[in-house]
Symmetry: C2
Subunit: 254 residues, 2 copies
């Protein structure tokens, strides 16, 4: 099994290192990840600047390729230029912090997996529900098992799995829940501050404002101690609204 | 009608200027747009750096606020900190180049409108199907008419309209078509080049690889000379795959 691994926390992060260590037990792993942290990069790609590919070493041993771009760039240039053939699977993570509900939109971790799905490569994003995880190990082991599982079960073309893992020791994980994306959003605001030169600047901060209650939502599964797995695609059409709009007399305003 | 206008080509672009000129005929317009071009910014937001808000003048007249961030940042800080009350509508554009099919994922223009939808504000993204448009005028007039139309018809909370306009004179526009997001993707690749210091760099380039044939797809409507309007939301759950996965025995790998 050939696995391309990327992330959004950067190639030097703990999460990607533990993930790679575990995945190397079951497959040929190539790491192609951002040189620097790219949290909340969304699905941005680099078009107006050139990309560089640098070999990255850990303890004088080649670890992977560091790219001066976004998570989606890494997967795109990885599959197009670095790898000789398409990988069997792309895994993005392990991310510090969950990528559930509205965070699926902002997430660089998910976008790396989504770029793979766009290129018809099975993919999975994996995140731990803490910004300072204590229990990466379980997530890494689960990623390894899921890698084999996905390759057997087959995903739909264009679909990736968005996996979120509670930051709990293995024995406290309640189970694995197949979920849909929640509607929880951020209750966020910009702190206004003054820089040393007397000029104003704004810093985004806030917390999740839980709006979900149903057990089949990603954020609720996590809260209840379950691993949440959501199948995610990239057709953003709102089909309910589409039906309504068919009755709008839009030609009247042409 | 209070309208917040943003874009991804930057506050100095021709498209936003023509849009604002037209919208000022029907509403109070506040412009809050990126200081510099943010094409393909996707739905990235700025969390690890501070944002600055600068007044932007055209011919010594105040035009709007320039933000050192992404399109989504502009809408977020605009609604949270700059405007005193929520606008009735957010319009993002007029973009140079269509945002149809897979480009909906990469688009900064769409993400500005999506950020508004996340904040429960009706929104629309508008793009012209050319990187060097000759016919902005019709798109600007259509945006003005649609602004009133949307406020009467009401959008579903969380849904935005993604409007793409052929680069044609008004009399050659075939009509307005309600569409779904197409499946057309990029046939793209990275050109390998050598910089003046002898080091390799990679530049993304390519063209759209049309995979759609049906008239109800955004890219096909555009090709046929129709304005394409797609309702877009941000629930990325793949419900078809979700049903399949309910039969996966995932607890066996817990």
């Amino acid at each position: 099994m050939k696995i391309l691994v990327s992330n959004d926390d950067g190639i030097g992060s703990v999460g990607i290192n533990l993930l790679v260590e575990e995945l190397r037990k079951v497959g040929d792993v190539v790491v192609i990840a951002p040189a620097t942290e790219q949290s909340a990069a969304g699905h941005s790609i680099t078009m107006k600047n050139p990309l560089r590919v640098k070999e990255h070493f850990v303890d004088n041993k080649f670890f992977g390729y560091a790219i001066n771009g976004t998570p989606a760039d890494c997967v795109k240039i990885g599959i197009k230029n670095i790898l000789e053939e398409k990988p069997d699977l792309v895994i993005s993570g392990i991310n510090n912090g969950s990528n559930a509900a509205i965070n699926v939109i902002y997430s660089g971790t998910v976008s790396a997996a989504r770029e793979a799905a766009i290129m018809d490569v099975p993919a999975m994003a994996i995140s731990v529900d803490s910004h300072t995880p204590k229990h990466y190990e379980y997530a890494a082991k689960l990623a390894k098992k899921l890698a084999k599982f996905i390759c057997e079960k087959k995903l739909r073309t264009g679909t990736l799995l968005n996996v979120n893992v509670p930051d709990l020791p293995e024995e406290e994980i309640a189970g694995i829940s197949v979920t849909r994306q929640g509607e929880t959003r951020w209750d966020d605001f910009y702190e206004e501050r003054i820089d040393p030169y007397g000029e104003k600047y704004y810093w985004l901060t806030g917390k999740m404002d839980y709006q979900d209650i149903e057990n089949d939502r990603d954020v609720i599964a996590l809260k209840n101690g379950y691993v949440s797995i959501t199948p995610v695609h990239f057709d953003l059409t709102d089909f309910t609204m589409l039906e309504t709009m068919k009755n709008w007399e839009l030609d009247s305003i042409k």
